[in-house]
Symmetry: C2
Subunit: 378 residues, 2 copies
């Protein structure tokens, strides 16, 4: 194997695949990155067994030659070391050559590194996915869907299936749901092309967070292929595989109330900032609970109280307030995360009483629904 490549392009590719490499892996070969040089270009593969990322750098792009290949071949190089070496090379031209099987030379300017690689045939093969259950979404929309749901997955492994986001195809919609059993985030997205053979899968939250970092904020399509054990997200030059979580995702539809006693329309940003301030004192007690109370004259008061430190109160003029008066307490963290997912615009909050779950959604549409269980303090 021998080739020359522009350092910046190699770094970009490495940057993506490094997101799949974990220092905690128990499989030694997975501390490495697999480099495959073919006539078409360079493939880089990184994996932690749960997530596998492969990037492709073509020999030529838009008439520019990116790689000059002298000899094809494959090698596995220690990921962190290889990445740091490439990052610190003195010039933008890099030559990589493998001699005598595993001895790898990396040359740039007057600097020469000699690394001992591992046999590429020991590196796990990519998961096999067939394109049956395939559909596509623009990258920026996919990133929004992830951002609006993934924060609500369970952090603890006590019910492993809740650490993932449930993706279901219902009629012509993709319905994504995450819950940690204290709050729930749901995002519905109309699909232009509806895949067959796909009902309900659970994608690990960690995988979606990494995918979000790999995806660019563009309208370029991402092809999504769902199989029984794996999901593949495919862009022009990146393949992102994740295993799926096993187990049945709970039916959450019955949790979402359909009738409401108090409805509040409020500026999401004002509410977010007021809760952020109130949580300064609430945090000291560790439970991070703030109070929310409605008053005549379209006023809501946010408050919190920490006996040893002090208290805070703030009134907000709301856009609309109807139904029964209400005093309710909830986690400032959950409320702030829900409001961030709805993103600054006016939100409608609908309550069914101080001890029942309440929901938040945008005034604009029903695509995003956030549900939070209150905390008993009154």
């Amino acid at each position: 194997m021998k080739f020359d490549i522009m350092r910046d392009r190699l770094l970009n590719g490495l940057n993506d695949v490094m997101k799949a490499v974990s220092s905690k892996t128990t499989i030694p070969i997975l501390t490495g990155i697999k480099i495959d040089v073919t006539e078409e270009g360079l493939f880089l593969t990184g994996s932690d067994a749960d997530i596998t990322i492969q990037t492709f750098i073509p020999v030529e792009e838009d008439g520019d030659q990116l790689i000059n290949i002298t000899e094809t071949g494959s090698i596995v190089l220690q990921a962190r070391m290889f990445n740091e070496i490439v990052r610190k090379l003195p010039t933008n031209d890099v030559e990589i050559e493998v001699v005598n099987g595993l001895q790898t030379h990396i040359r740039s300017g007057k600097s020469e590194f000699h690394l001992i690689g591992s046999d590429a045939s020991e590196y796990p093969l990519l998961p096999e996915v067939s394109a049956d259950g395939s559909f596509s979404l623009p990258a920026d929309l996919l990133k929004s869907i992830i951002r609006e749901t993934v924060f609500a997955v369970a952090a603890s492994e006590s019910r492993p299936v809740l650490t993932g986001v449930n993706w279901q195809i219902q009629d012509d919609e993709l319905v994504c749901v995450a819950t940690d059993s204290h709050r729930l985030a749901r995002r519905k997205t109309k699909l232009e092309q509806v895949p067959t053979d796909v009902n309900s899968v659970v994608i690990p939250g960690k995988s979606l967070n990494e995918l979000n970092k790999v995806l660019e904020d563009s309208t370029n399509p991402v092809q999504i292929v769902i199989t029984s054990q794996q999901v593949l997200f495919k862009t022009e030059n990146v393949l992102f595989f994740s295993r799926l979580l096993e187990g049945n995702y709970p039916d959450t539809t019955r949790l979402i109330p359909a009738e409401f006693k108090t409805n509040v329309t409020i500026n999401g940003k004002s509410l977010l900032q007021a809760i952020d301030r109130a949580s300064l004192l609430a945090r000291e007690d560790r439970n991070n609970v703030v109070r929310f109370e409605t008053f005549e004259g379209n006023i809501v008061e946010i408050s919190s109280n920490s006996p040893e430190i002090g208290k805070v109160e703030e009134q907000i003029q709301v856009e609309a307030l109807d139904g029964e008066n209400l005093k309710i307490s909830f986690s400032a963290k959950y409320m702030m995360e829900a409001l961030k997912a709805i993103d600054g615009q006016d939100v409608i909050i609908q309550f069914t009483g101080a001890m029942r779950p309440f929901i938040l959604r945008s005034v604009i549409d029903d695509a995003i629904l956030q549900l939070i269980l209150p905390v008993r303090t009154y």
Copy 2:
């Protein structure tokens, strides 16, 4: 106590004094910030007993009214909480009022915080310093002096006096020396006004690092007052006190060689980057040692070798090379820190053999001297 202040100015002042507040303090009152409102303006004081910082915000500045004082007085408020509250207030106008002794109200827009303060009379008084041993330096020069020496102080407390930087007045020069007994940094600075009654003091490295963060990068003068137990750095609106370290600082002059067998003039930045690359492999062995070898034709080779991972070699064309040929090994970390202190320009490195300390200085002047002890590997 009651006053109104611009939030941004209050935040700036808090930002400085917060640098002295430690969460690890064992003296409860020092978890707070003292606020003193006088007819002249607002004093904020923070301290961890070693470092004390006081900032002053005048009632009026350049014709702008910064503070509107209704009633003077003093209070101590929990530092971290007060700082976060001010940071998150909704408007740029803040009203702070103390009623019934310790009950403190912080109002901004429709937000109102109630904090329970502590009695300001329990807060330690500022150290007393008389202006006898006083001199001044421009702030940017003082920052340079700190940056060029403080990194070389000892990290371990096994010889406490080495965790500080020794400041001596010799004739009309300020001589600052730091060493951890493996390397040494020395900076000499001509003084325009030489203080009397000051010989040699040791300022804790931690204090100098914090001072460096508080000082602005300007040519404004900093007045420096040295007493037997304290040093005070005084700018227009900030007082920065630090205790001094006790104990005699070792005489380091005899460590610095006067005769040399090999002299190398080399571009500091090229050498720094080559050593950074070589240290990638050196680091794996934990000792972080790189080799430096001279060759005919004004060539220096930097290399390192990690048996399990690989090796790296890089040749650098030097500006000048005279004297005996040399193979020497040293800590990449020490060399990189020394080169950063000399800051990118051409440096002269002078050796007295592979087992003797060597020195680095700028080709431009002798103000900065860096000394490093080699490591035996050949």
